[in-house]
Symmetry: C2
Subunit: 406 residues, 2 copies
């Protein structure tokens, strides 16, 4: 059994993925790992033997505190999909030889659906080759679309940023005595959890978004224009929140209705442009001033307004993964199980990785009133606990201090 | 002499214009104003006699504290330009009859260049017609382009937001082991103060933006591509900050080089699209992944990360305006005069409104190294004090609480 541990980060950034890294690191160290290594750029870097010694880099308590407050991935990230080992064992052989060379007994991967697929494949290969390396996945994604976990670390902070920002945009966009529609474009290719968070802006001091469009419900252009016209007849200045992934009944992305779309290096269509297209449409049909606001990558890296609940849970999920591995588990993902909404109580649990990987969790119908473009109270009960409390930032020269791998 | 005071807000929102409103209100009340009124939607609302009684609305200390933390304009705003009273006295006659009806002796207007023009014209008209109403302007603009004041309330908070956000974007955009350029589009039609603030992101924990483009320096497409290529040959992942107002030597906006531009109801060209155009250009010429991020209106309403220095100065500027009016001044604007960078010391002073209105202050050459697209140390000495300290937010259900006029 290897004496050392290794941890990697994969997929898109969040505000709290480094808090999970801090959790894995701290509990590995406390559990007796000789050295904790980090993979640079996930499995892609590990294949090239690009490792850093985290036991040295994170030796000081200040470094660990800064790590918990640093957005994006301290170790770098990748989007690498392992092949089926029965068809192509080569990358597996390379990876396991690196693990052997560094005497690794514990392997942690923090990421979303694709990363959990990596844990699944590596632990299956380990079982097939009688390797005793233990593999545990730590969930992370702002998209909140992983199965078997009540929510994913990263979602709460993105949701808090979206709630805060949409609330500020509502104040900003309603100051003139004239007709205007602001369309806020929010991430979410298939699942509408992030756009749904725009509803958090509503309260006694804020009218909130007038309408929310999620990808779970087919987008009907005519109905959208009619609803906007009806809403604007009551309130001249409106804010509308839309998922970047909204698409028509025949599966065509709204973003595609305008310009032709570019494709990113991973083959995903670049969906920005949804708000711009809808603003053009509304301007033409309703003769209203419009403004398209894209929250873009800001929503996934806004550590300065991270949810303390989220940071703490991300840390706990990382720590629970390390604890499980040192207790003998492998081929598992840590999940968050909610015991109660109010008071909010949540614990970590372990799930067989085969039940997690490659499934997407959508916003359920009892959370969304699609006819009126409104989130239902059940969604607020679900989401509100996740955005509670703030992280005290370590401010230096007026800005939050981060930890950077050098 | 009228016993009451009135205050209005005009132009684009900032995170701290309501702190100036709180300052005007508090000092008017303390100075013995019988009632303090607010104009709804500035002079445009005043012409229609749309007033609110602020003495009632802001009676509680909690309301005043929330007002100081609420972005955008509590009273609503307008973009209304008074005509020359010698050519068209009609709106003046209407306004002064409303002022008389409400027994107004003190008139305050919080805004940017256009609003100071309003103070100039109203005080000139008052002098010409022997009215004893006193008119004082309170500066406000994120653009920082007003003359005679060291900086404008609103700039510090926008600059802090831009510094924080660019720092987070740098972390976010450098996680993959591949070539990528993120172009961040920042407000600023003629003056580059806001894009310059991207330089605040740089520090021991952040590489900061690799290049900054300001409207003060003519934009050369070929040089831009060459510089980006040179920078990318050293660092594969770059962040570049550009003002929306950058234009070529012949005065053509970069945003115009792509699509044709729409025009807003005030005749200003809608400049968004600069970053998108530049991303297309860089992608084609350098075969790099790109991403355009527009900070859009988020940068002017992000009260959640407001600079406490800015909030305090905005409050002081409002209070100093009220103090001056009750001491007998009229036809003046409150300015901020810096006594020292470090320790930062700044006081309010009064300036004749005729010396202020209708001039724009640009980023000086000794702040900007245009050849390398870098801000010089003198700019950092200037800007850093303005972004210091944070405002303790009043968080309710996970979001900052605002005060809304109902």
């Amino acid at each position: 059994m290897g004496a050392n541990a290794i941890v990697g980060q994969s997929g898109g950034p969040t505000a709290v993925i480094n808090a999970s890294l801090a959790g894995v690191f701290s509990v590995c160290r406390a559990s007796g790992a000789k050295t904790v290594y980090g993979m640079c750029h996930g499995v892609q870097g590990l294949l090239k033997e690009e490792l850093v010694n985290l036991s040295e880099k994170l030796a000081s308590p200040l470094a660990l505190e800064l790590l918990r407050r640093t957005p994006a991935t301290y170790l770098g990230s990748c989007r690498y999909k392992l092949p089926d080992y029965r068809q192509n064992p080569e990358p597996y052989e390379t990876l396991f030889s690196v693990l052997k060379k560094y005497d690794i007994g514990y392997f942690f991967y923090i990421g979303g659906n694709d990363s959990m697929d990596t844990i699944l494949k590596l632990s299956d290969y380990a079982a097939a080759t009688s390797s005793d390396v233990r593999f545990i996945g730590v969930p992370k994604t702002i998209d909140n679309d992983l199965m078997l976990t009540d929510h994913t670390p990263g979602y709460g902070s993105a949701a808090k940023y979206i709630g805060v920002t949409v609330k500020e945009l509502v104040r900003d966009s309603t100051i003139y005595d004239l007709k205007s529609i602001t369309v806020v474009e929010i991430m979410g290719r298939n699942a509408g959890w992030l756009a749904a968070a725009a509803a958090l802006a509503e309260g006694e001091d804020c009218e909130g978004p007038a309408m929310i469009c999620l990808p779970e419900t087919p987008f009907d252009t005519e109905r959208f224009v009619e609803q906007a016209a009806r809403l604007q007849s009551k309130t001249p200045s409106l804010v509308i929140a839309v998922s970047e992934g909204v698409r028509t009944a025949d599966g065509c992305y709204v973003a595609e209705l305008g310009d032709s779309l570019s494709t990113d290096p991973f083959g995903h269509k670049n969906l920005t442009g949804t708000a711009r297209y809808l603003c053009g449409l509304l301007g033409e049909r309703l003769h209203t001033k419009t403004r398209a606001v894209e929250l873009s990558t800001l929503q996934r890296c806004a550590a300065h307004i991270a949810s303390q609940t989220d940071v703490q849970e991300a840390y706990q999920a990382g720590g629970a993964a390390a604890k499980a591995a040192f207790e003998g588990c492998t081929g598992m993902m840590v999940g968050l199980t909610r015991l109660s909404d109010d008071p909010y109580l949540c614990v970590t649990e372990l799930h067989d990785i085969h039940h997690v990987a490659n499934f997407e969790k959508m916003v359920p119908q009892d959370y969304f009133d699609a006819d009126n473009g409104r989130m239902k109270p059940a969604f607020l009960d679900y989401a509100l606990p996740l955005i509670q409390s703030e992280v005290t930032q370590t401010m230096v020269r007026g800005l939050p201090q981060h930890l950077r791998l050098t």
